[in-house]
Point group: C2
Chain length 260, copies 2
DNA sequence: GAGGCCTGTTGACCAATATCAATGCCGTAC
DNA sequence: GTACGGCATTGATATTGGTCAACAGGCCTC
């Protein structure tokens, strides 16, 4: 942090007549990530005009699969899960998204293809999808940023398929912890101890395991001395290298903001 | 097939002086899919100049994860698998690709992020990645086609995560059969009986199951009268509706050519 | 046509994980 | 402070799918 201006003062007023108000982006972690990265203030302002900032409480639904898509969301604060459910109640969380990531972008014929749920209180920019598409069509650098976010998400889901299809329960949990640790570290949220913000059930829905198996796997990792548990939501990574080894985590996966 | 011109005659010569040779695209199933769809003949010609048509035999490697990425590929004929492996031999096939699809598109820092392998003999256009990116940067409709292919792939992998994380072995196999059936039908390859072109081991690597479990699940579906088996590679879908029910396949998934 | 190899099928057994159930912990409401 | 509800943990048991092994069928070579 090396601001010279005092915090809280509306920035921009002093800069010039054109900027009458400060942008909410000035304080957004995602300003330099994903869609927003290539944009200058003027274009950010035009993008913001396509929607507004919205808020959800933990466990609230951001969007529902099959509902008509109006806007998609770029997370400013908090964590969200993108998921898909079967009629019989089984559900699979397909991605955990953090500030800077987009959710609710994928559509099926004008309808959301997945569910979005707040894992913590969430604040996000909502962008009208049609307006955004039109805007992106005129701005190749923005369109390129979308492609990059999609590519990044695709690499992540490919990796996730490896986890679901090939890893044993304890390997999956170890992988999950490394993944969340890397994600939070990348987005500069949290620290030590790592706070998961996910119940055992939510972790299970992400890893294709039951609550009990997640709990037991955590216990095994703890007994092996790789992690420490603080309450049920806090994790201290004691042996990062070994944990990554168990979780079959390759070299630094260059976490990049993604869209889903 | 309602061509009026006799097949085999070089098309294009009669059309005008500008077209000195016919395009290989004239006979490519993927001409109207994916990247190529928005392009007219002149631009197709420029795209083709970025590479050439290449061939692989069944089981040959198209590209290897970690190898420097030179070009990516758009399949003209045959089926290919995109996969990812662990050091200990376990591997996960993350996508099965057919004519019109792209493979080898995802990179990590200039290197292929996944493996590509021919499941049958494969013919594909190879496009130099850098050249393509530059070309796409000047052609918004092409860039949009890339985004669409990536979005489509992302929806597919989300669905695949649901399959791997939540479905039982027989459900997975039923899902797989429906998926392949829809894919081949969409690309106008094969017919009845459905020819899988994948060994039990390859299916297992896709579904996160062992050879034996795939075999037993096929047996169960056969005994239930949902499918018939012709040899080990041929499948007759006898009860499509029931098979889709077992495989938890939602309504027509609007199969769209995708990139990986 | 015989032999060998590769793949698939089938059976027996075992290990991993799901399921069911009991208990404990923690936060909240009254 | 006490009671309650939700979630996590732990144990006992059931089920699924993996592992190991035997065998069968198809295809190729010689």
């Amino acid at each position: 942090m090396n601001f010279t201006a005092p915090p809280g003062q509306p920035r921009g007023i002093a800069v010039g007549l054109k900027l009458l108000t400060s942008l909410p982006c000035d304080r957004c972690v995602g300003r330099s990530l994903n869609l927003c990265r290539p944009l200058d203030d003027a274009r950010l302002r035009r993008l913001l005009a396509l929607g507004g900032i919205r808020h959800w409480k933990r466990h609230e639904t951001l969007f529902r699969a099959g509902d008509p898509m109006t806007s998609f969301f770029k997370i400013r604060k908090g964590i969200a899960a993108v998921s898909r459910a079967l009629d019989d109640g089984r559900r699979q969380i397909v991605a955990v998204r953090a500030p800077g990531d987009c959710v609710g972008y994928l559509d099926n014929d004008g309808r959301y293809a997945f569910e979005g749920e707040a894992l913590t209180d969430v604040e996000a920019c909502a962008f009208d999808r049609r307006g955004f598409d039109a805007f992106a069509a005129d701005h190749p650098d923005l369109a390129a940023a979308v492609s990059e976010a999609l590519s990044s998400a695709l690499k992540q889901t490919g990796q996730a398929m490896l986890v679901l299809g090939q890893l044993k329960s304890t390997e999956r949990v170890a992988h999950f912890l490394c993944e969340i640790d890397a994600l939070y570290r990348d987005r500069h949220i949290g620290g030590t101890p790592l706070v998961l913000h996910m119940s055992r059930g939510e972790i299970g829905d992400y890893l294709g395991l039951t609550i009990e198996t997640v709990s037991r796997s955590m216990g095994k990792l703890k007994k092996r001395g790789l992690i420490g548990l603080i309450g049920s939501d806090g994790v201290v990574v004691l042996e990062g290298a070994k944990l990554r080894e168990v979780g079959k985590v390759g070299a630094a996966p260059a976490s990049v903001a993604a869209a889903f």
